[in-house]
């Protein structure tokens, strides 16, 4: 195939699509009024935010009054966890439960709370990358105030049994938070049916701009502010509203949730074709459950090669993807998610994540299938580790 540009990193971020930009444009141009102002262009902004809040609420089965706009998923996670801890501390509750393979926005927030006297239980995941609800149930104590389990994992795409965990938490009267950044628009979500108390979502994973997200806070939960200041967001989150981005988020979530089954069918067909073809490469393995995973997520490890080299080589062919290697994680260890499902370091270093989205086509999938095997072969040919694997040496014994 001729060289093409294939963006296959939609779990990292996405392109702002034309309808989203079009919805935003009035508020990036003449509709610049501050939503707190009393004149008409101010009220226009306030009305746009109100409408956007309703759209976002509808997309996840929430009430309009339960949606608070934030700067993104990380802020929503920080708000939910830190401020739930504030409430709990006053009642003498000091324990929260999360999983070992959460996004860092959750993990590092929990680690911060540990430094401030809270006790955190990190539930393991099985080798398929799934949380077992009974593990959550067993971990709940009298002083547990919060359970936080991600809806879908950002690296291996596994979809967690959120409704079951929600049911357990509701029965045990423990708040349940889920980071649904990767799930919104990809998996049907109904916060009420799933007994979710707090949910974080982000715009830029679903074709809205970066820097916008929301926290869903169930009626009856009254978390204190994370950001103090003006009276925006019903006194809950200060800062002049990012009107254009809020409108963009609403448009994006409306489009993303319009027909999730159709999207899943289209993407999973491409996903499964890529997985089947790439697993023909010797010494490769699929990471994460083959079925309970996001429709666009492929995560495969190739032994004997290192992920960053793989990504740079793919980039030379026009393909954008990501990896869980140490070199791309910004730390010395490979992805905590891949280690959590039991991969040895050497195998985790050679992982490739392809995340397909609305804009990808069958041709993109075919192009990936054509390019990856040759690149893996080239990198293995120059890898002293691959020599050892071929000699059947135990490379993880060191």
């Amino acid at each position: 195939m001729d060289k093409r540009f294939v963006y296959a990193d939609n779990s990292a971020t996405t392109k702002i699509t034309a309808p989203v930009l079009e919805a935003m444009m009035p508020y990036l141009t003449d509709g610049y009024g501050n939503a707190s102002s009393i004149y008409s262009i101010g009220m226009d902004s306030a009305r746009a935010i109100l409408k956007a809040r309703e759209t976002v609420a509808n997309a996840i089965g929430a009430k309009t009054s339960e949606i608070y706009f934030t700067s993104g998923g990380s802020e929503a996670d920080n708000w939910a966890i830190k401020c739930a801890a504030d409430v709990a501390a006053k009642k003498g509750k000091k324990h929260l439960i999360t999983t070992v393979f959460e996004h860092h926005a959750v993990l590092h927030t929990c680690q911060y709370l540990e430094k401030h006297g809270f006790d955190v239980t990190y539930i393991p995941v099985d080798e398929m990358g799934l949380v077992h609800p009974e593990d959550v149930e067993k971990a709940i104590r009298d002083d547990t105030f919060l359970v936080s389990v991600m809806f879908a994992n950002n690296e291996i795409g596994t979809i967690q049994p959120i409704a079951e965990i929600g049911k357990i938490c509701r029965e045990k009267k423990v708040w349940f938070h889920t980071d649904a950044v990767q799930a919104v628009g990809n998996v049907p979500i109904n916060v009420s049916e799933m007994n979710i108390d707090l949910l974080s979502l982000s715009g830029h994973k679903i074709h809205a701009p970066k820097g916008i997200g929301a926290l869903y806070m169930r009626t009856g939960i009254n978390l204190p502010n994370l950001i103090h200041g003006g009276a925006q967001e019903r006194n809950k989150r200060a800062g002049t509203e990012n009107v254009a981005s809020i409108v963009g988020l609403a448009k994006a979530i409306e489009l993303a949730t319009a027909d999730i089954p159709a999207k899943q069918a289209r993407l999973s067909k491409m996903r499964d074709k890529i997985i089947a073809e790439l697993l023909k490469i010797p010494e490769s393995r699929l990471n994460g459950d083959p079925v309970k995973r996001l429709a666009g997520n492929v995560n495969i490890s190739f032994r004997g090669i290192e992920g960053e080299s793989l990504l740079l080589s793919l980039d030379l062919e026009g393909i954008c993807a990501s990896s869980g290697s140490a070199c791309t994680s910004g730390s010395l260890d490979p992805s905590h998610v891949l280690l959590a499902i039991g991969l040895p370091h050497s195998t985790a270093h050679g992982s490739l994540r392809i995340s397909l989205g609305d804009l990808n086509t069958e041709e993109d999938a075919d192009y990936i299938i054509e390019k990856v095997p040759a690149i893996v072969g080239k990198l293995r040919a120059m890898s002293p580790l691959w020599e050892r694997i071929l000699r059947d040496e135990d490379i993880d014994a060191e």
């Binding site: 080299s309 070199c327 370091h345 050497s346 120059m382 890898s383 002293p384 490379i395 993880d396």
Partner: protein
């Protein structure tokens, strides 16, 4: 993170990749757990490095520093190769991101390990020439 054009060029077109049959010195450093291993092969005639090849498992910087290091010692006397520093490799690549500096250290060590192997094969104690090479696995990132 940003790589210089020179790093990308050496990554895309690495020089001296491969093995040398009947090499006069072979050195390997790094480990699988840390995610980078470099293996250097030297052909030495009359004290001159007449050929050098490498194989590397690692990131873009690991490949580029290996490639550049081999270029810097090819055709040079052993004495020059012994003096090659990781800093010289970094400078020749127009810099490396801070988190990648350890790759250049690994490249320097790989050459020293190959030279140590050469001296050992000659029946000469390598330590006075290449210094003490640790047998212990370095911690990741060095």
């Amino acid at each position: 993170m940003i790589y210089s054009e020179k790093v990308m060029e050496h990554f895309a077109n690495p020089r001296n990749v491969g093995e040398i049959e009947n090499a006069d010195g072979v050195g390997e450093v790094g480990n699988a757990k840390c995610g980078d291993i470099m293996k250097m092969y030297l052909k030495i005639d009359d004290g001159i490095i007449t050929d050098v090849k490498f194989k590397t498992f690692g990131c873009g910087a690991a490949v580029a520093t290996s490639s550049m290091a081999t270029e810097l010692i090819k055709g040079k006397p052993i004495e020059d190769a012994l003096k090659l520093t990781n800093k010289a490799v970094v400078e020749a690549l127009d810099g490396l991101p801070t988190v990648k500096l350890h790759c250049s250290v690994l490249a320097e060590q790989a050459i020293k390990a190959a030279l140590a192997d050469y001296y050992t094969r000659q029946g000469v104690d390598p330590e006075p020439y290449v210094g003490k090479l640790s047998d212990e696995e370095p911690s990741c990132g060095i």
